[in-house]
């Protein structure tokens, strides 16, 4: 299962980096979202993977999973959610101010000539 999770994080990060380097704002926003998914999974896994064990002290429990990464991930999710909302609104504003959706505010053929 560790290998599968590592692969998932790797693919998400690779996809996120690729999309974040695109020229249009929409793929960039998607790339940032994928990157935040990847890092949330990564943080979660840093508490080690365990199945069916409680995070909070219980009399019957013999083993525990680390509760702290779950709290960290929760914080990170909230922050990345807010940031994604902000960057979407900013991209829309840039679209209306600059007249196109290129990250440098260039028109399509103008961007190609560069």
């Amino acid at each position: 299962m560790e290998a599968l999770i590592a692969l998932v994080i790797g693919v998400l990060t690779a996809g996120g980096v690729f999309l974040a380097l695109r020229g249009q704002t929409f793929p960039v926003v998607l790339g940032l979202t994928l990157l935040s998914y990847a890092v949330n999974l990564f943080l979660f896994v840093m508490g080690r993977l365990a199945i069916g064990v409680p995070p909070v002290i219980r009399d019957a429990a013999t083993a525990y999973t680390d509760p702290l990464p779950q709290a960290l991930v929760l914080t990170a999710i909230v922050i990345s959610f807010g940031m994604t909302a902000f960057v979407i609104v900013l991209s829309l504003k840039a679209r209306s101010e600059l007249g196109n959706d290129h990250v440098d505010g260039l028109h399509h053929d103008e961007a190609h000539r560069r």
Binding site: L32, L72, F86, E97
Partner: protein, 505 residues
């Protein structure tokens, strides 16, 4: 707990509550909002002074949030460095806010709310003793800074803002990757506890810790605008409004602060297998930043762009001082830090007054009409330019002199001397050219109605910041003693660790 024991939390809580109150009062008269915002910002100064005095004798004030003891809970730690940064921030914020009250705060909505939240994030980042909490405060100050950067809107501002936001979001992701790796290896996020755990890291995990440490360095370098990552700064700072650019003079210092804090505490000499992680990186990159900053200063086509590049160069000097890693050099850097913050902020405010006085030509470095109030503006330009380049008698000279003196015995000495002196000379030439272009090579076209005579109210913050720089010179003795004591405290982090963990090893 006595009421005094709650002192460390106040610089964090006060701006937060002020921000919330201002948000509730957003429909009230502007005078009220300005008054409350200014009062709360002014109140930070006595707080910061008290904390500086308390921390001045070498004690660490440790404040356990929710009374959860470290390393399980989050702690705020006031030591000399944190108090020094708080004091610099509060003094800067007052003058930036005074300039904004002149009228810039009405260009968009919620300026004062965002301003207070920015202070909330800044103060929190300086005080926290927890790595994940540092990330959270970084996000708070960044989100406020996005709002402030875009304040007023406009084509260039939105374009520069988009780049700034995207690059910082990628930086935040890297920060989380680094924090996660460190947590995965050590099982703790408290910085003092991390310092203990990293010193005992088993050999098979050393490479992992080094990767995480360098990843963290990349994030801080991005915030500080160090060499490969400085390109966002000139565009963002040159296009935002003047009070925001002035406040942002402290933003790059947050990155420099984090580098100094994390690498003196967690990767210092006591860190065993992972010590000296940045030795090979920080000083050369800082020298490169200094050089690229000055090339930018020489090539700039507008005054505010030139100031932004001067800021990149000053970050180069600052991190060079930190990167040399001796007590004297770090002390030189700490003395130089408030100077470079105040002088860059004063210059941004003055550039705004100058571009208003030039009408449609704004701050482009082309010969233009005679400015109204040219004598006052020119005199202030001369003083600020002397300060920022580092000529005597102002404190930039003293800071650079301390840095050069600290470097005499070190192997990097020719590079430091050559770099600092050559870049100082080049920026002096560049500013002499800009000054003569702006004030002397004028054509006698009659003044247009778009040229606004600078009021004394607008120039007071510039003069105030210059007075602070003068204060840095007059009290150079005690202040450099404080800086030396701070550097000594940072380079032997044992006391910090004992104070936070409450143990004596």
């Amino acid at each position: 707990m006595s009421s005094f024991a709650h002192l460390p939390i106040l610089p964090v809580v006060l701006p937060l509550f002020t921000g919330i109150v201002l948000l509730v009062l957003r429909s009230k008269a502007l005078a009220w909002q300005r008054g409350i915002s200014l009062f709360a910002t002014l109140a930070l100064i006595p707080l910061a002074i008290t904390l500086t005095q308390t921390a001045g004798d070498g004690t660490h004030l440790v404040y356990a949030l929710g009374n959860w003891a470290a390393p399980y809970g989050i702690v705020l730690v006031v030591d000399r460095l944190a108090a020094w940064m708080l004091l610099t921030t509060s003094l800067l914020a007052v003058f930036a806010l005074l300039y904004a009250i002149r009228g810039g705060d009405t260009e968009g909505r919620h300026f004062h709310v965002l301003f207070q939240l920015q202070l909330f994030g800044l103060n929190g980042a300086f005080l926290t003793g927890d790595l994940f909490n540092l990330f959270v405060f970084f996000e708070i100050l960044l989100l406020a800074s996005y709002g402030l950067l875009l304040h007023g809107g406009g084509r260039n501002r939105v374009k520069a803002g988009l780049h700034f936001v995207v690059i910082n979001l990628v930086g935040s992701t890297l920060f989380l990757f680094a924090v996660g790796t460190l947590y995965g290896v050590t099982g703790t996020l408290n910085m003092a506890d991390l310092a203990v755990k990293l010193a005992q890291v088993p050999p098979e995990n050393v490479a992992l810790v080094q990767t995480a440490g360098l990843l963290l360095f990349a994030v801080f370098a991005l915030k500080a605008a160090l060499l490969p990552f400085y390109l966002w700064l000139p565009a963002a700072y040159a296009h935002t409004s003047a009070p925001v650019a002035a406040l942002f003079a402290i933003m790059t210092k947050v990155g420099a602060y984090s580098i100094l804090r994390v690498y003196s505490l967690m990767f210092g000499e006591a860190a065993g297998p992972v010590s000296g992680l940045l030795d090979a990186w920080l000083a050369p990159l800082a020298l490169g930043t200094l050089a690229m900053g000055v090339f930018g200063v020489l090539a700039s086509t507008s005054l505010r762009q030139q100031i932004a590049y001067l800021m990149v160069a000053s970050i180069g000097s600052l991190l060079l001082a930190f990167g040399l890693g001796t007590v004297d050099s770090v002390a030189a850097g700490l003395y130089y830090l408030p100077h470079s913050t105040f002088s860059a902020a004063a210059f941004f405010l003055l550039a705004d007054a100058i571009s208003r006085a030039r009408g449609p030509l704004a701050d482009r470095l082309e010969s233009g009409p005679v400015m109204p109030g040219a004598r006052t503006l020119g005199g202030l330009f001369f003083l600020v330019a002397i300060a920022i380049v580092g000529l005597p008698p102002l404190s930039g000279f003293l800071g650079k002199f301390m840095l050069l003196k600290a470097a005499t015995e070190l192997p990097l000495m020719p590079w430091v001397w050559g770099g600092v002196l050559a870049t100082g000379f080049a920026s002096m030439v560049a500013l002499a050219r800009s000054g003569s272009l702006l004030f002397y090579r004028t054509h006698s076209a009659h003044e247009t109605s778009e040229q606004i005579t600078p009021t004394y109210f607008a120039l007071t913050p510039v003069a105030g910041l210059l007075l602070l720089i003068l204060g840095l010179v007059i009290w150079a003795g005690p202040l450099s003693d404080y800086a030396t004591a701070t550097a000594a405290q940072l380079l032997s982090p044992q006391h910090y660790i004992e104070a936070v963990l409450g143990t004596t090893p």
